[in-house]
Symmetry: C3
Subunit: 468 residues, 3 copies
């Protein structure tokens, strides 16, 4: 054999689509691993039917809401509850019609692809959604939802989900996970430890949250050592419900590695409620390092989601609250920000810290060089606005040459839109197949290697990175 393709790096397309099809065919039906997401565990505990098409596809989906709002539809007219309890649209069919009226807005977006995929492959719809078809499609979805084979557990099984991790706050009692256990249903639904509300001094009710953490664990969480002990206890509790990971949503990637004395003093400061923004930032940063150290002990994979400027519109936040599509990414630095954590634990081969970003400019400049050097680091998949064909393409093109495939962590769907899970994994598998086919047909990867990599990207890497 020759090691190098005589046509390497040259454009190729005769073979490219065929190669992409073959790669995709090899991974299309692999089970779905969903190690990071926001589905509601009560769905699987109670296995009630989903209420109606609007509640399934429109009201809870911030991608859908934001696009309709951007063209002048009000959140109230889409059925989103107002904080003041004021009147909102209560007729799901009217909400659905407004959605259908605006469906052309989604042209070229991943939302359109996810929705079309769900309509077609989950609900067997064969007409495109538009004002003329809105009612018929509504009726068709509604009819299906009324059947047992469209209840959550049936869909879970039909979707081929091997594992679905939900995300719960540190204070959650995990009652729905207990109920799933108790039910005898064999679907694997695990939890993830998300302690933002007891780690971020600027979170609403932080001090009360930390007090509640003490009550749950019997630790004196008004002291630094008791506070850390309480985290250890809750992590163990979450592990007992299958958690293999923690998740940390921070405004920046700032980390700190203070001495025990300094950290304790900083804790005293933030728990007093009298602190500066800088001290809050420092405390969040210190807690990332503390969490990484706990991961060294208990083996939880650590996920850091940094860079979202939450609740950008004061008006929308005041009227409708969080998570209504007005979180906007901002510039995020990693090189300086992560240095304290990395100097502490970055060279540990048994630790896994998965980094996510909303700032694509750091893929090639910061994240791939870091992940391509530190044993503890892996790169999470393109996140949120970048969970899309072009987003995935830019991620692969900007990171692979520097850190390869094996410092990445497979795909996350990161969704609360349950019916979109197969669609999202499908987009990921197709996009990666397309990327790999380009590498093969331009002589940058051998065909046999590409099939191995395709399998790893669709399944193996997530399994390893999340200890599944």
């Amino acid at each position: 054999m020759t090691l190098t393709d005589p046509d390497r790096l040259f454009p190729a397309t005769q073979r490219q689509r065929d190669m992409a099809r073959a790669l995709y065919a090899s991974v299309a039906d692999l089970p779905i691993l969903s190690p990071h997401g926001h589905c509601d565990p009560s769905w699987f505990a109670e296995n009630e039917r989903f209420p109606n098409p609007a509640e399934l596809f429109v009201v809870p989906d911030h991608y859908v809401l934001r696009m309709l709002v951007s063209q002048g539809v009000s959140l109230a007219d889409l059925g989103v509850p107002r904080i003041d309890g004021g009147a909102i649209e209560g007729d799901p069919r009217k909400i659905w019609r407004r959605f259908a009226d605006g469906f052309a807005l989604f042209r070229g977006t991943p939302s359109a692809m996810w929705l079309d995929h769900s309509f077609e492959h989950v609900f067997e719809i064969s007409q495109a959604l538009c004002p003329q078809t809105a009612d018929a499609i509504y009726d068709q979805i509604e009819a299906k939802l009324a059947t047992n084979s469209f209840r959550p557990r049936a869909l879970f099984e039909r979707f081929g989900i091997e594992l679905l991790a939900t995300t719960e706050g540190a204070l959650d009692d995990l009652r729905w996970h207990q109920a799933i256990k108790d039910s005898g249903w064999t679907g694997r639904v695990t939890t993830t430890y998300r302690p933002d509300a007891v780690v971020d001094p600027e979170f609403e009710g932080f001090v009360e949250n930390v007090a509640a953490l003490g009550q749950l664990t019997g630790e004196d969480t008004m002291t630094w050592s008791g506070y850390l002990g309480a985290h250890r206890a809750r992590r163990a509790f979450f592990k007992s419900y299958g958690a293999t990971a923690s998740d940390h949503g921070h405004p920046s990637a700032t980390t700190a590695n203070l001495s025990a004395h300094e950290a304790s003093a900083l804790f005293d400061r933030v728990i007093s409620g009298e602190f500066t923004a800088q001290q809050a930032e420092m405390f969040r940063g210190q807690m990332l390092t503390e969490m990484a150290k706990m991961s060294l002990d208990d083996g939880l994979t650590m996920q850091i989601h940094a860079g979202s400027r939450r609740n950008h519109s004061a008006d929308v936040f005041a009227r409708f609250g969080r998570d209504k599509g007005f979180d906007i990414p901002g510039r995020t630095d990693y090189v300086e920000a992560l240095k304290p954590l990395l100097d502490a634990v970055g060279m540990e081969p048994d630790l896994t810290v998965i980094l996510f970003t909303l700032d694509e400019t750091v893929y090639g400049r910061e994240l791939a060089p870091l992940a391509g050097a530190y044993p503890a680091l892996k790169l999470g998949p393109p996140w949120w606005f970048f969970d899309s064909y072009e987003g995935i393409k830019r991620f692969r093109e900007a990171t692979t040459e520097t850190c390869g495939f094996y410092n990445t962590a497979g795909f996350n769907d990161d969704t609360r839109a349950f019916c979109s899970i197969p669609a999202r994994h499908d987009v990921s598998r197709r996009s990666d197949s397309a990327y790999l086919s380009t590498l093969v047909t331009t002589g940058r990867l051998r065909e046999a290697e590409a099939f191995e990599v395709a399998h790893d990207l669709a399944y193996g890497l997530a399994k390893t990175a999340y200890n599944l």
Copy 2:
């Protein structure tokens, strides 16, 4: 029908060029809407012939000047007037020969494509410009320019321009627009309200400019309320000459939303001439919000062009002045910067604020997420250095998945190079057709949708965004 293409996201090229051709054919001959540009209205008022090929293609084109200068040609040798009135090249043919000598420098640039298009399609030239053909091409252009069918109005009509907006300062008497009206010529040439010189405390002669604004309007512009009233009066005056938009060229996207009391105090400060750089920045930011509020009243579309570091070379600025190709882009933030304006008026569905940037890193991270949420925001087309095939491709790829097509504002040529207008719109229409053909052939957009979108990108979106 199926909603999803079995080959979606895979590379496709058999159909791709055919699809691009078909999409382009459907928009190639649409009328040109040019809602933002810098043509001289006196051309259409006086309808005199253009002086010579060098004055048409070289001397006023900062793209051309900068490239020749970058390889050692002096601005004086290209006929650019010196501030000190010193000697410069006065022979247009010699200037033209220097241009021809350097024409190979433009290989791969949009300037080459615009120039070739103008040469071929406006002047019927069939030889490539090079030192050997310089004189013959000069003569051919000169001969055409001497004919009536190459006068400004004749070209305007031949180019299929439905509307051309020029840009005038707030103090302009719009005499040329009056003259066009008076002439009876039916070409639609409108103006745009550009108040930088009376809004930016750091602009040369700011205080005198504001005083002149008072004289023009009869307002006491030395007071905050009189100053605002004067803006309202001038906006109405510009509207009476067809203006549908204002334009704001600011070094950053900073906005502010001070109380009336604070704003008035800040105005007193800047009009006194004694202010800090930070106060100047704050005042510019406050004025963006004031202008947005006036737009809510008078319906003018608001354009914000941010991020150019003007007059980077002290030497060139001292010898030749502004706009000589030495404006360099810089990093520009939008997420924090626009928040005050957006908190004030961002949720208004009847307001249109069009954002432009010279910092491509914000497309996906900041601008598309903002425009995909706030009803008042639209994204302007790629601007200046990015008004090109690759620039347009990056813009579409980075924004469409997040904010779709309908939060963008169509194409602007933004030029004072009149003969390049058809070429620039053609590049835009072709580039968008190529992009759309990629979406169709990779299963991301249906063919019928693509034809609708192509029409909207070439015509409909500009018409809506600028209220044309």
Copy 3:
């Protein structure tokens, strides 16, 4: 002829690979100009055989080390010497096996392509490296290395190297370059003046280094004028060994242009050892401008490599020292940073300053606009993590439309991995051929022009930019 292609800007692929092949064929066998690199001149002075496969391909290659380390292999197990002299792997075959065990990690990286190319084209290996083939390939390389035709000079000639520039510190006695001269061997190996250790007040031993500079030159380097005179003397000394360039590796692109009085005072400060980080930064910046002014006198091309955060891992630095794969890029500004230098000498047509970056976000926003205006500036090729197919593609796509090809400086291999030099130039020539073929087949460049440009990119531009 027509000046514009009727299908311009549309996707094209039928002709694209053929065109790429033809362009590549026209440049594939051009001599190699390597004007910037880090080969050891003693190789060519002594012409000893390379010690073993591990010492040739693994131990000195920070790309290889970092990837293996990122997956948990320790530097000590790869034979990298410890600062404390502690035990490390001493068996090259065991190191090689660890490399083979991890070779799949390099899938999709330029390292894989360079290594495969070297294996196949230099060592005639036809099996892919993997655990099963590790020993056989080791033996095959070892057997070749033992022959005279694999000694450094023989390889130099076989690789078709017309010129190879090494890089030496300002205090180097250039003995190996003298030995090459004395040997009568006709291979052209030159040096490059790299004064970081005597220019950066934060460099280890800065004051001692400056004192040594005085001893070498007879100048009183404890005074500003003597210090500058010593630089002039050393530059002349380096020129006498063929140097045509200086090289400056700075953490940022900051420049300064102080008055002689201020500069002298700043020098007194930094040479006293009592200075702030800001003063160190200012001094480095002042020295870039001083070096540029010296280049105006002596004609050395000036290279500025900015933006690496060196030795990011405190742990790795403490145990293994510099250059072990833990240098991470960071954000780098050029527009404000270079203004002092550019205001001083940027308009000089006889000066060449080549800019390199590790921050790709500045290609289109900052570097191409600057290089497309200032006569003194050229852009260096994509550097370090971006010396790759996708890296080169992004560079060309982001810069060509603004500054064209002729404000770029050709290719650098920048390597100490001698056997990879042909592979790296081959990747560059292929990548540029692919890019040019895309321009031709989408109507953005004429075919005849593309052949000229291909030659310039592979050979002509480096020859001019480095005065070879």
